[in-house]
Amino acid sequence: MPVNSQVSKPNDSQRLKAKQQHQLYQQALLTHHKKPVGFEKDVTVHSEAEGYNAACGDEISIGIEIEFNKVKAISFHGDSCAICRASASLLCLNLPKLSKIEAASLSQQIVLSIEENITVIGELADKFSPLLAVQQFPVRKQCAILPWATFSRALTSLE
């Protein structure tokens, strides 16, 4: 390192910015990113859809296994950012066992709450609060939404 190099100390707004980013990459989300549920899981795919985020290059493919009109299992594949991976992981964790209608409804609710900054309460908040932190980061919303939008398309194609 050069001896004369000058590194300025961060000011308050920078510290706040750094803190906010860390809120986005909080532990719960990082855990899903590093050990995602459903990633490359072997399921019997009855319907599949692909999603692409042109802004950052996220690519995701969601596969759904249906049994008795209910979501039995979900898998995802692809190269995507931590927010997208964690979002897909939460999707794969929470949607199995729901009926197709319930899964579609929940999926819509999650997308809407991210897009419109709608506060969720109760069980939904418990399950998805790490993901909903993305509400404060408009440029990353599309990363969080991509798996859910892709899942919805895969579900629709079953009809």
Binding site: M1, Q6, K9, Q14, G57, S80, C81
Partner: protein, 423 residues
């Protein structure tokens, strides 16, 4: 040589009331603005503004003189034969779209009349910005012509052996970048134009990234067209330059129609003026043109050899620092690129990936440390795909950067890797 930028203080964005801790490493997207440029534009707008080329009063005549003086300065910067070879526009994107419409499309229209449009081809390199791909892709699709892609070699330059095989009697134009906005490598423009010239093929060079390295000599390169944007040269956005060789402008149809570009008009027909004004309808963006001239004066005052020596030294430190990180994955094999840098111009930008972390996450976390880099495909999606990746992180240098910026980048990358990497 100083390792702290002697010119950083010229950029008000780093002042204590703005962004004193900003580590800006995205000059390939746009350069920050020196005070000289902002002041010149403000001064013009406040004290000298009028419509150029139209008014018969002194204030307007003064503005006309400013624009024509700017044309001369730009001709000098590009080594053009004459100021009349220079057209002002809104930037590289508009210039390339204009060339597609004004120069190449009429050739395809003629070919279609002769029933051989589907035998024609347009050639570009695999490393083009979308601005130098999409206009050609659309033309090719509209007329059933072929869009041929010249692959890049291991150094990131156009593969010249393959180029020769792709150019033929049916090639209408060869369009390529002088310097890649992703790989930072210069193409051997003179050699490429010589190959094209030997087959009577028109050449268009996208100089958007190259001009940050100093004056260009279009006569020596022997290209037909050369285009760039002012904001890649510390000037304002919304202003660009097109060079057209010889009387090529006279062969072209106007791109947009409006005031100030005609000799006479009646309800049945119009007679357009000759020269650059035919391609500059409406009112000139004079404050931006003034800003561009001021940027050129500012850079000339510092001196280009001084700038290039400084950026070269910094670039070497940047690449060395990045290469030492065990998670650093350059888009081009680093040993080949490094070997080439010794004998070639050193890039002022590098694109890479971080092992186990998506580029978007890297950029977000660097941003939290006030380090601004570009992440994504940098408007060169096909190039990324041909390199087997979806996205990359791009770090690019400007004259306000110094060694501390590189150190800050490396520290932030280390932090990001510790936090995010899937090992």
């Amino acid at each position: 040589m100083s390792i702290v930028s002697p010119w950083k203080q010229d950029f008000p964005i780093f002042s204590s009331r703005a962004q004193p801790n900003l580590c800006y490493l995205d000059s390939a997207a746009t350069c920050l603005t020196p005070k000289h440029v902002a002041d010149a534009m403000l001064h013009y707008q406040c004290f000298s503004h009028a419509n150029s080329h139209k008014g018969l009063y002194q204030l307007s005549a003064n503005v006309t003189e400013k624009v024509e003086h700017a044309r001369e300065k730009l001709a000098e910067f590009l080594g053009a034969q004459h100021a009349n070879n220079i057209v002002f526009n809104s930037g590289t994107t508009e210039a390339l779209n204009m060339l597609a419409y004004s120069y190449v499309e009429p050739l395809l229209i003629k070919a279609r009349r002769d029933n051989n449009a589907d035998q024609k081809n347009i050639v570009i390199s695999a490393a083009e910005h979308h601005a130098n791909l999409l206009p050609w892709q659309r033309l090719a699709q509209q007329y059933g012509a072929e869009l041929r892609i010249v692959p890049i070699d291991e150094k990131g330059q156009m593969n010249l052996a393959l180029l020769s095989t792709l150019l033929d009697n049916n090639t209408l134009v060869l369009a390529f970048n002088h310097c890649s906005n992703v790989l930072g490598q210069f193409n051997p423009a003179s050699k490429i134009c010589r190959i094209a010239r030997s087959k009577n093929i028109t050449t268009i060079i996208d100089g958007a990234q190259a001009v940050a390295h100093g004056p260009v000599n279009v006569i020596e390169i022997d290209c037909d067209f050369y285009v760039f944007s002012a904001h890649k040269l510390y000037g304002p956005t919304g202003c660009g330059v097109l060079y057209a060789k010889g009387d090529l402008l006279e062969q072209m149809r106007p791109y947009q129609l409006g005031g100030g570009m005609i000799n006479s008009v009646d309800f049945n027909d119009s007679d357009y003026v000759s020269g650059p004004l035919k391609f500059e309808p409406g009112s000139h963006n004079v404050s931006s043109i003034v800003g561009l001239v001021e940027a050129l004066d500012y850079l000339n005052y510092i001196s280009w050899p001084e700038i290039n020596k400084y950026i070269d030294n910094l670039s070497h430190y940047l690449f060395k620092s990045l290469s030492e990180l065990n998670y650093f994955k350059p888009l081009l094999a680093s040993d080949i690129a490094l070997a080439d840098f010794k004998s070639n111009k050193r890039p002022s930008l590098y694109s890479f990936q971080i092992e186990g972390i998506h580029c978007h996450d890297v950029a977000s976390l660097l941003d939290s440390e006030n380090v601004a880099v570009r992440a994504g495909h940098h408007c060169a999606q096909p190039l990324h795909k041909s390199l087997g990746v979806n996205a990359s992180i791009r770090v690019s240098l400007g004259i306000y950067n110094d060694f501390s910026d590189v150190d800050k980048l490396v520290n932030s990358l280390n932090y990001t890797y510790q936090l995010m990497a899937i090992k």
